[in-house]
Amino acid sequence: MTITNQYTEHKADTVTVAKTEPDQFDIGDWTQTVGDPLLDDPRLSARNVDVFYADNQAIHNVSLDVGKNEVIAMIGPSGCGKSTFLRTLNRMNDSIDICRVKGEIILDGHNIYDKSMDVVELRAKVGMVFQKPNPFPKSIYDNVAYGPRIHGLVSRRAELDEVVETALRKAGLWDEAKDRLDKPATGLSGGQQQRLCIARTIAVSPEVILMDEPCSALDPIATARIEELIAELSENYTIAIVTHSMQQAARVSQRTAYFHLGKLIEVGDTDKIFTSPDHKLTEDYITGRFG
């Protein structure tokens, strides 16, 4: 996870819009997102976001708000753009050369795609947890201490110890890891590694945590612990999670957004989406009628 300056050069200004024929998308009479994508007091706002991989448009005009201390789940069939969209929220797509983003993502009143935005700082504010646990080949302690060190958040060792302990406690890993902080992180189990990655993310005090299928490589018990953790973290953080498990989306989130072929089809309270969604595509997907 080396962050270099190449990411601060964003290509949004040089985007040319690929012409898209509506009928190439088999989504019936889609005209606009059903439900309530916008909120009164959002933490993070996406406005008219288009994402292109070379000439292919992966995301079509998505506008979506994420509320404070809210867990929002993004679901949809493979290739629907949910991960792509999630990655635009902290400019993770910058690392892909052919990827271009149009539109605005507003965090704390600033468009994160502004040229003046410091991407390193942005990614401290908007942290990310990936599908496969990816601890650094360092000790458990150093994994968590890495962020605070490079961001210069602490000046003394004692302070750093405290940050590491707090992060590990919040991630529910402290009891298991406190006696082996100097041991390699790769020696932890998959579920522990994933919680370590979450600890590493929250060690830099982010505002928003993005999770891209954080449990798909974990067993049911480790999954349950992560889900429990998501519920606890949502008291202090805003969380956007992409998941293929609809039951997981139903369990952990307050709002659910359904993506289909790069379009945001429906957004609504999770209860509503899973009992009586308004859009037929949402209905078909969550009831297992295609995909």
């Binding site: 609809m246 039951q247 139903a250 989406i273 899973f274 009992t275 009586s276 969604p277 949402t282 209905e283 078909d284 969550i286 009831t287 297992g288 009628r289 295609f290 995909g291």
Partner: protein, 238 residues
């Protein structure tokens, strides 16, 4: 939502399980409908043999309730149904419960018929019984039909009929009370008629519940305990 809606899952096995539950519900519905019809016929014609059969059928109805409930539990546990599938399973579970209770009430009518046959027949309450009975039988049939066709208009009609039956029931009870006061010798008989009326009225209520389940299933709206005009508005809403 149309009937084919339940037949388009990626998993054909899942389709088959839902279809099985639907089929069994309809079969149970048919049995209960017959039970209600027979109970009425036995009452009107004082046919004690038929009344006995109605009481015996109740066992089959109870068994079917258990069987379908078990099926639904299995679908919930293994398939984790969502949205319309979830509503379908919930609606089936509720409808099965209501059908079983209808069966119970039909047996009660049959038991009162046997008692009435013992005490000897008389004209009091006969017209009301026939009238309310016929209406209720119609409601049962229509509620099942609206479930099979997923037809909310027809289900709403059942709700309206139930209101009419409730009114008629009130009137019939008042008439019977007057009869009892005028001639205490009729009390035993009038009570049996009253209880039969009560059972029929309850069957109507259960038919109404089934119809409400249909509206929940199709529209995703819970229309229990609200006024009819509000129900109508919910149905019309897209």
């Amino acid at each position: 939502m149309d009937k084919s809606h339940f037949d388009r899952h990626t998993s054909a096995q899942y389709n088959a399980e839902l279809e099985e539950a639907r089929k069994n519900l309809m079969q149970m519905g048919g049995l209960v409908e017959q039970q209600v019809e027979d109970a009425l016929k036995a009452l009107m014609e004082m046919d004690t043999a038929l009344a006995q059969r109605v009481i015996e059928t109740d066992k089959t109805v109870n068994d079917m309730e258990l069987e379908i409930d078990e099926e639904c539990t299995r679908i919930l546990a293994l398939r984790h149904p969502a949205a319309s599938d979830l509503r379908f399973v919930i609606a089936v579970t509720k409808a099965v419960n209501d059908l079983e209770r209808m069966g119970d009430e039909a047996s009660k009518v049959a038991k009162h018929t046997l008692e009435l046959a013992d005490t000897g027949s008389g004209p009091q309450g006969y017209v009301e019984l026939r009238h309310i009975g016929e209406k209720v039988r119609q409601m049962v049939s229509q509620s099942l039909d609206s479930f099979a066709r997923l037809n909310t208009d027809s289900a709403f009609d059942v709700l309206q009929q139930d209101q009419a039956v409730d009114l008629e029931y009130g009137t019939a009870i008042r008439t019977l009370v007057t009869t009892m006061m005028e001639d205490p010798r009729t009390i035993t008989r009038a009570l049996n008629v009253m209880w039969s009326l009560r059972s029929l009225e309850r069957i109507g209520d259960h038919a109404r519940n089934v119809a409400e389940s249909v509206i929940y299933l199709v529209k995703g709206k819970d229309v229990r305990h609200i006024k009819l005009d509000q129900v109508e508005a919910q149905i019309k809403k897209k």
